[in-house]
């Protein structure tokens, strides 16, 4: 057995106009969890595609168990036991768990080629159990949570005798508790001798799991370290290429008059009895486990799916918001959680994306004034330091952080004073994160009232003035961010109190 299970040497991959990988190297030991980190666009995705045989490299060699191999097709990688689990699970949502696990390598009767359902279900059950999951393999895939679907995908990899499992940002869509489950699974796999390449933006994941970390930056290999041999700051410098002096900027805004007040807001089956106020210049953190009703609450305030109980006051006046158009007209803007599906029209240019919600501003009786439109888009893009060749560059061509800036620009284009930001830094890299934090603080200083929805505890604590914690559709705590700890928030988010007796505490 070679020292390294998988070794990549001087791998280069060029696409028309871009060098996606520039003589990159990577060494994976058997039975280790190896974190792969780097900003968006560092070349991680292309790297995975080379390992899984989707893209053939232009130069360099790949060694598997010390022997040179060529991965020309995903099948070649599969044969060697290399499998990838993606953040957005690629599955057949209408088929059962068993069918998903055995897709492409079903168990067949020897002569008749009949599908052996019973055996397959039993086998599937076995794999799931091994991973600590107890749901029925006959369940429809689409009815499972993202975390459960990932477990199915991992089962599928195991059923194909995977020796290397690549996990691409698996915790991005998971709650704290689900991530913890995933960590345990990863450790169990490691103990069984499976090697894991763990790609993540979350330092938490890396510290919790990995024994070594490799960093890519700008399509280049920067280095590999043992986790305990590199300091957090050095790691960030390696990833970003410069020092990010302070991730969370100093607070600049001061609290002004009341902008928004909700009293006993409720929507059947989603949330109930939610009351809070938001002031000018304030950043109000909103957190809780996924499924606690945060997004539903925000979308109700924004009019996507209106609330059915309670009252909403804007600047002291009771208002009823029925649809987003009305919300925008009343000064409420919403930055959706999924910027690609809900925030942007990817094939459109930056200009058209930014102006979409406010076309009325440069139209006369419906007729567009394109010059004015482009000027406004240009101004906003410049203000947010969007990196692109021109404002006509398509949104799809931008990096995650720049895409997010475009969605923020859409909010700034409208005359708003309340911004609801739903996971604004989800899936963006460290450098862009601190830029977005800076923007949020600037906005608060300009007098916007901001509701910041986030699952990341450090972000909520570092950014907010006050923190709302939701649990099972109710507000379980309103905490002052001074002196608050992750434990306090987690306790409020997971809690031990009965759901129908919401805990209310003010720190």
């Amino acid at each position: 057995m070679a020292e390294y299970l998988l070794e990549l040497r001087e791998i280069t991959k060029t696409f028309p106009g871009v060098k996606a990988l520039d003589s990159v190297q990577f060494k994976l030991k058997p039975g280790e969890i190896h974190a792969l980190m780097g900003e968006n666009g560092a070349g991680k995705s292309t790297f995975i595609k080379v390992i899984t045989g989707v893209h053939a490299p232009d130069a360099g060699e790949i060694l598997f168990n010390g022997e040179k191999v060529e991965l020309k097709h995903p099948r070649d990688a599969q044969k060697l036991g290399i499998a990838a689990i993606y953040q957005h699970v690629t599955c057949y949502p209408d088929l059962s768990v068993t069918e998903n696990i055995f897709m492409g390598h079903e168990l067949l009767a020897k002569r008749t080629k009949r599908i052996l359902w019973k055996e397959m279900h039993a086998e599937a059950k076995k794999w799931l159990k091994e991973l600590g999951a107890d749901f029925d393999p006959r369940t429809q895939m689409g009815s499972l949570s993202v975390a459960q679907q990932q477990i199915v995908e991992i089962s599928k990899a195991l059923s194909m005798d995977a020796k290397i499992i690549i996990m691409d940002e698996p915790t991005a869509a998971l709650t704290q508790r689900e991530s913890e489950e995933l960590y345990k699974i990863a450790e169990r796999l490691r103990d069984k001798g499976v090697s894991i390449i763990f790609i993540t933006h979350r330092f938490e994941d890396m510290y919790r799991l990995a024994s070594r970390v490799t960093v890519f930056r700008d399509s280049r290999y920067i280095g590999t370290w043992k986790i305990d041999e590199i300091s957090h700051d050095d790691l960030i410098v390696a990833m970003v290429g410069r020092e990010v002096s302070q991730l969370f900027p100093e607070k600049k805004a001061s609290k002004g008059e009341e902008l928004l007040r909700v009293e006993g807001l409720g929507k059947n089956g989603y949330f109930a009895d939610v009351s809070f106020t938001l002031h000018r210049g304030e950043i109000l953190g909103l957190t809780g486990l996924v499924g606690a009703g945060r997004s539903e609450l925000c979308q109700a305030i924004y009019g996507i799916s209106p609330y059915d109980r309670g009252k909403l006051f804007l600047r002291g006046k009771e208002t009823r918001i029925q649809n987003p158009l009305q919300a925008i007209g009343s000064g409420i803007g919403y930055l959706p959680e999924d910027r690609q599906k809900q925030g942007l029209i990817l094939e459109w240019g930056i200009d058209r994306n930014i102006t979409l919600p406010v076309l009325h501003k440069f139209s006369n009786k419906g007729w567009l004034n394109r010059k004015q439109e482009q000027k406004m888009a240009k101004n906003l893009a410049d203000k947010l330091l969007v990196k692109a060749n021109s404002i006509f560059a398509s949104a799809a061509s931008l990096s995650g952080g720049n895409q997010q800036k475009i969605v923020v620009a859409k909010l700034l284009a409208a005359d708003l004073d309340i911004l609801i930001l739903d996971e604004p830094t989800k899936g963006v890299d460290v450098g862009a994160k601190s830029a977005i934090y800076e923007i949020i603080h600037d906005l608060a200083a300009q007098g916007y009232g901001i509701i910041l929805v986030s699952s990341e505890m450090p972000e909520v604590i570092g950014m907010s003035d006050r923190i709302l914690v939701m649990r099972s559709g109710r507000l379980s705590a309103i905490l002052d961010s001074d002196g608050v700890t992750q434990e306090m928030i987690l306790q409020a988010a997971m809690g031990t109190h009965a759901v129908d007796q919401p805990l209310r505490q003010r720190a």
Partner: protein, 334 residues
């Protein structure tokens, strides 16, 4: 981002300009005319070409709103049945003594109502696709038309009504003028207004459009109602030209209309396409039919040619470099 004051270049080189799908259409259009002229000495007669437009322009009115619907990412296959129902009701009411002017108003109203019902069902039942909804109403509307007239024909319209389909203004067919005027209006609305921009937005990403505060339900309703209304306009011209109407009138128009829009470069996947392409395609198919008809090419062969042309139209952009360039420009081109 470029320095202050510079928007950055929207690359529009000469090459790019000529690589647009519309130029391909113009090329095919000229080719068709050339072949026609070569095949028949009678073809290049301006008078007869002028009169030929009268025969194929009636259904072209539906192409205009169909472009809107396709850009929304939807489809409407009930339009031909709407033509039948609105014209049958008009003829029936006229024959029962309603003045023709009022019968025409009713015809337009029935058409608009048919379209509105499609839109309403789509807005109300979001899980239904427009193919299914309009397949249902396609059968339904045609069925009602049969109940009213029972496979009879109805007509004997007043003398002046035939002017719609047969009249000239300064030597130009009335129908041609109306079509050009409407095509220009539809084109301007699509490419120069917020409404048009919203159509492209909805067809490209419906969810993001909703989140951006676009009133998607309202726009869907308007566009489908418009399709019904324009189907009624077709009904008027058709009834005028034929002098009568019957329940099986305009059979198959829906597919002709969709074919014209698609040949014109409008994507059935939504978000892409321009009005000018569809208008060129209308004349392309119309004159192709007329020209080949002159040299007695049988109708069946005509179908084969048009079918092949359509497949060619949707394949060429995928085969050549045409696609990425045009698709990119067409994407947000309004």
């Amino acid at each position: 981002m470029k320095p202050d004051g510079v928007l950055g270049e929207q690359k529009m080189t000469l090459k790019r300009f000529f690589l647009q799908w519309e130029w391909m259409l113009v090329l095919i259009f000229l080719l068709v005319n050339l072949v026609n002229a070569f095949l028949s000495p009678y073809y290049l007669d301006l008078i007869s070409i002028r009169d030929a437009t009268m025969t194929f322009l009636d259904k072209a009115f539906i192409v205009l709103p169909m472009v809107f619907i396709l850009i929304l990412g939807q489809i409407d296959i009930s339009v031909a049945s709407t033509v039948a129902l609105s014209s049958v009701i008009m003829a029936d009411l006229y024959n029962r003594g309603l003045p023709m002017e009022w019968a025409i108003v009713v015809c337009l109203a029935v058409g608009a109502l048919c379209g509105w019902i499609n839109g309403f069902l789509l807005v109300k039942f979001k899980e239904l696709s427009s193919v299914i909804v309009t397949l249902g109403t396609m059968i339904l509307y045609r069925g009602i038309a049969y109940i009213i007239l029972e496979d009879q024909s109805a007509g004997k319209f007043p003398e002046w009504f035939s002017y719609l389909g047969w009249g000239y203004v300064g030597g130009i067919p009335f129908i041609l003028i109306v079509f050009i005027v409407l095509a220009v209006i539809f084109g301007l609305v699509l490419h120069q207004t917020t409404f048009g921009r919203h159509l492209y937005a909805m067809g490209s990403n419906l969810t993001a459009s909703q989140f951006s505060g676009i009133r998607t339900n309202r726009i869907t309703l308007i566009v489908f109602t418009l399709a019904g209304l324009m189907a009624a306009v077709t009904a008027l011209f058709l009834a005028s030209r034929m002098g009568s109407t019957r329940p099986n009138v305009a059979n198959g128009y829906e597919l002709d209309v969709i074919a014209m829009a698609v040949l014109g470069g409008v994507s059935t996947a939504g978000g892409k396409g321009r009005m000018i392409g569809a208008v060129i395609a209308v004349f392309l198919i119309g004159l192709l039919r007329y020209g080949l008809g002159l040299v007695n090419v049988p109708a069946q062969t005509l179908l084969v040619i048009i079918g092949a042309l359509l497949i060619f139209a949707v394949m060429v952009p995928k085969l050549s470099g045409l696609k990425r360039k045009t698709a990119h420009r067409l994407a947000g081109k309004n």
